[in-house]
């Protein structure tokens, strides 16, 4: 067994959330550049230039890209040969969130669903654990803003709807979302498993880098096809019109029940933030 200190996990989580919120990925910046070069709308180009400038300011000042610094979502893979010492794992992660959002001047967006009273430290985090082979801990911090999350949906399609039904569901969802989720968006699609598994797959799909195609060549083709259909909707950056409505579409697919065809669409705004560390 390899021992990992809870304090190290706390520090890592703290740093990851500050980093993710202040430093936009190069893959996203490159996607903005492609939109600036190819979009037919002058207004779209202007919005994309603003987003680039915004990312530059955020990086220089180490201030958040967007004021919605999200609920703190994490994917945590624990090697089965790891023993966490010096504290409880979940508590250590939540402490890291508390520190990151406090010391990083990030907005605290967690509140009670009915009273709407703010928890004031952005906890509890939404943590998805997985046990994997090895003796490492891999932590992926995915701050998730509310505006785009609100546009996400799960549907239990009839198996007869097939792949075409899935494609239509995704394109219609993005069309109905319009300007709300801060386009250009990234679209995470989870297909298969159960009701909750499809949603988790869709969330996990959003942790890929822009342009990173599915390992399955057939699915890779479908991703590109759906992206092209979305970008024909005309919504454009901020919904002001244009050809850059989404930057990418990612599918994650698993087997499902013979009676079911679960499909989840998790919408992500252009501030697509995810940073990882391995301890």
């Amino acid at each position: 067994m390899r021992e990992v200190q809870a304090a190290e996990i706390t520090k890592t989580v703290r740093d990851l959330f500050i980093d993710a919120n202040c430093n936009l990925g190069e893959d996203v910046l490159a996607a903005f550049d492609r939109g600036i070069a190819t979009d037919e709308s002058p207004v779209a180009k202007e919005v994309l230039r603003e987003l680039k400038e915004n990312a530059r300011i955020a990086r220089d000042e180490q201030s958040p890209i967007c004021q919605d610094t999200g609920l703190a979502v994490l994917f945590v893979e624990i090697g089965q040969d790891v023993h966490v010492v010096g504290g409880e794992l979940k508590a250590a992660i939540n402490e890291g969130v508390k520190k990151g959002y406090g010391e990083g001047y990030l907005r605290k967006s967690a509140c009670h669903p009915f009273t709407r009273a703010n928890t004031k430290d952005n906890t509890p985090a939404v943590i998805h654990f997985d046990i994997v082979p090895g003796d490492k801990v891999r932590i992926l911090a995915v701050p998730k803003g509310g505006g785009a999350e609100n546009m996400s949906r799960v549907d239990m399609l009839s198996p007869s709807a097939g792949l075409e039904g899935i494609k239509d569901f995704i394109v219609k969802r993005i069309e109905a979302s319009g300007s709300n989720p801060c386009p250009p968006t990234v679209v995470g699609v989870g297909i298969g498993g159960t009701f909750e598994r499809s949603a988790l797959l869709a969330k996990k799909a959003l942790t890929r880098k822009i342009g990173e195609r599915n390992a399955d060549p057939e699915l890779a083709k479908v991703e590109v096809e759906v992206l092209e259909r979305i970008n024909k909707l005309g919504i454009g950056p901020m919904g002001y019109g244009g050809n850059t409505t989404s930057l990418d579409v990612f599918f994650e697919v698993e087997p499902c029940h013979i009676a079911s065809l679960p499909v989840a669409v998790n919408v992500q705004c252009h501030a697509t933030r995810h940073k990882e560390a391995v301890i």
Binding site: E40, S41, V43, V47, E50, L51, E53, N54, A55, I57, A58, E61, S63, P64, I65, C66, Q67, D68, T69, Y105, L106, R107, K108, S109, R116, N118, K120, G146, G147, N150, G178, S179, N180, P181, C182, R229, K232, L233, G234, I235, G236, M238, G239, Y240, G241, G242, N243, C269, H270, A271
Partner: protein
């Protein structure tokens, strides 16, 4: 695109000349307000009580800013999605609200209220919170500190960049923009 400079508070004359797609630079005082603050404003109105701000001619910015770093007036402060304020917006326009800044589509009843009461829905670039914060020179909480990022703040802005999404004639930039570039 021509840029129109406007100073708050806004008059009927100011807003009636605006049309969708116009780029406007706002200077003066604006107030922040999002979900929880709107609910409280609305409840006060229904109870016939006084509001913490005189709403006449004012502009409400749908935003919950990030905390200010030392030496800065405000943290990142871009718009939040506006439809969640739809249930409350017509009442505020009836009382004299002249402008709303946010992002995302508004409901029919809000667009109708903008025609009826002469008000404008401005869009600011969503997710450009670090950039937009540069146009905010001063910010202070004036009501409901307990709401944290949702408290009402009085902001002094200079050339705050917005685009007209819905004008006083019932036009909608989102509808026209998508129509122009749709290929399917």
């Amino acid at each position: 695109m021509a840029e129109i400079k406007l100073r708050t508070p806004l008059t009927d004359k100011d807003v009636e000349k605006l049309k969708i797609g116009d780029k406007v630079l706002l200077t003066g005082v604006i107030y922040t307000g999002r979900d929880a603050a709107h609910k409280r404003l609305y409840d006060l109105i229904l109870a016939g009580k006084e509001l913490p701000i005189d709403i006449r001619g004012q502009v409400i910015y749908y935003v919950g800013p990030a905390p200010a770093k030392p030496g800065k007036p405000i943290g990142s402060a871009g718009p939040t999605t506006s439809y969640r304020m739809d249930a409350f917006a017509p009442k505020l326009m009836e009382l004299g609200l002249k402008g709303m800044i946010g992002k995302g589509n508004r409901g029919t009843e809000v667009v109708e209220a903008m025609k009826k009461y002469k008000a404008i829905y401005f869009g600011a670039t969503g997710g450009a919170g670090a950039l937009l914060a540069r146009s905010i020179k001063k910010a202070e909480t004036i009501a409901w500190e307990d709401l944290g990022p949702e408290a009402i703040q009085r902001m002094e802005v200079e050339d705050f960049p917005v685009v007209v999404i819905n004008d006083t004639k019932g036009n909608d930039l989102y509808v026209e923009g998508a129509k122009k570039y749709r290929k399917a």
